[in-house]
Symmetry: none
DNA sequence: TATGAATGAGGCTTCATTCAT
DNA sequence: CATGAATGAAGCCTCATTCAT
């Protein structure tokens, strides 16, 4: 990937996260990337292609994030790490942009991207099983759902107390 | 409100929920409402005005939905009704559209509309207090967050088992 | 002419003078006249009809203005009155609007309305003849031209010293 | 400046002069320039930008016209050249369009653009001073005013005898 | 690889005008 | 006589995309 390709990708990433896919014009991307508009099309074919590249990038970043959870063997640690995942990333601006983008695109294009979380779900199920929860699948499912809610409020509700909620969650799950 | 105004509102409601606000052109709305495009602007000023009218409508519908919860006195019933709120509405198409619209707009415009849920939050806090939960505010907060997650998955993830999750939740909260 | 007709005419007069014919929408006229938009069309047929009515009105007002000059018999007085015509009207707001409208419409529609000034021209020629000017037609023509310039600058150039210029003119013509 | 930019400018120039600024739609300009409508906005931002470019162009042309007068040292020649300025340009179609545009825009937008003539005014004052006119400022002012009137009638009144009037003027000023 | 001029379709909005009440 | 809902054409502008250089 050339330097300009990366500049385009980064510009698009930031803009899609800020204003959404449809609302971001290719010319805005070009301007922010300090690149000619035509170059976007040379490299990514069309606007949709740019989006796909960004989604791809997101999946890779997600993989990295999830890897730490999936490779964990201690069940309590699995749950703890999962719960802390967002809070950890909420520190730096770049991560916030990452999550914002994930959810904005989810909603704008109505694609949930289940396969991304499937591996995590399995690990959570295993963890809850080992911890003798009665309905481990449902517990895992619930926790995943909760994470969507957490992200939603964290991103959209300025006043939301993310860290407090996460502390409370850790108490509840005793992790 | 004239008949055509209502047709415009309904068409916009459906289209905004389906495709989002920006992706829905005023001409599409006009066509679906079987109305001239100009009429939209006569009645709502501009596209933004149309959106506001729809948001307003949503708040009224939300009030109706919440009214049943807020007026409930039995704490267990409060929680039960709150949890069941989505599942009940998930039966008919119109309600699904309603929720979809709420969340799509939330994300597209990044406005959370906290005041809408504030009353519900107070009632939940009271309920958890009466049920002797140790941290009623945090419990209420968590349940509200969970609901956002539930809606997110219900709307975006085709395979999501809403009713199962709700049953499980009711067990957890013993309601 | 009914009261509402007059309100429409007055509103249109003011708006056409302020913003020009094309730039003034019938809806703006209706709003300013506190009248329904349809009424304009009932009374004046279409926007052009409204314009014609206003032009007509202008001609009548011009006739009144000119009458005083035309009926004057003393040649020196004729010239003096003609020169003072604008300065006199420049006192009250209504007259300024009148002149502004005349010129704005002239330029926007490129119609000079020569016949309006023809009578005045004749009287000026007669006056210059009696005063033994060598080329009375040319003198009259020049004075009329000067008046157009005077109006132009008075209306368009905020800093223009109308009264000073008029005084100077009167000296020149010894009137 | 690309070739198409110039075509746009020329088309707009002609149309604004013929029909005025507001009455000329950008699509008309595009059609006349044999260019896509979008290109106008790429090059000039918006319709107002196009107008500004044209006004700018006008100022440059005016500078050229005035340069000949300003650099003249013989007072009589200054006045002569000034008086002849319009008549000289009235020969070719392009110059007529130029003057028409200047005045149409003046009236439509109510901006007089005094600074353009300021230099000329100074030179005229100097000329009248040297020629021992008693009130050189007023004379200059009057002559400028007269020119506005001359242009007004020349452009708007089909039957106006421009050359005759100019001859007469030259006699009056003995130039 | 990279630019930016150029396009045409479509978006939001305004407008003159008509018509039922 | 008077209203104001309703229309359709047109206006300004943006956008994704293509192409010559």
């Amino acid at each position: 990937m050339t330097e300009k390709q990366e500049k385009i990708l980064n510009a698009a990433l930031a803009l899609f996260a800020e204003e959404g896919y449809r609302s971001t014009s290719t010319s805005k991307v070009a301007k922010r990337a300090e690149v000619s508009e035509g170059l976007i099309f040379r490299h990514f074919g069309n606007k949709e292609g740019l989006l796909q590249a960004i989604i791809q990038l997101g999946e890779e970043q997600a993989s990295v994030l999830f890897a730490d959870i999936i490779t964990e063997t201690d069940p309590r640690e699995v749950i703890k790490k999962f719960i802390e995942m967002i809070s950890k990333t909420s520190q730096d601006e770049e991560s916030i942009v990452f999550w914002k983008l994930q959810f904005k695109i989810k909603w704008e294009l109505e694609m949930y991207g289940e396969h991304k979380t499937e591996a995590v779900e399995q690990v959570l199920i295993k963890a809850f099983t080992e911890l003798r929860y009665l309905q481990p699948e449902k517990e895992a499912n619930l926790l995943l759902t909760l994470m969507d809610g957490l992200a939603t409020r964290f991103i959209l509700q300025k006043s939301f107390d993310l860290d407090g909620t996460i502390e409370f969650l850790k108490q509840k799950y005793k992790v």
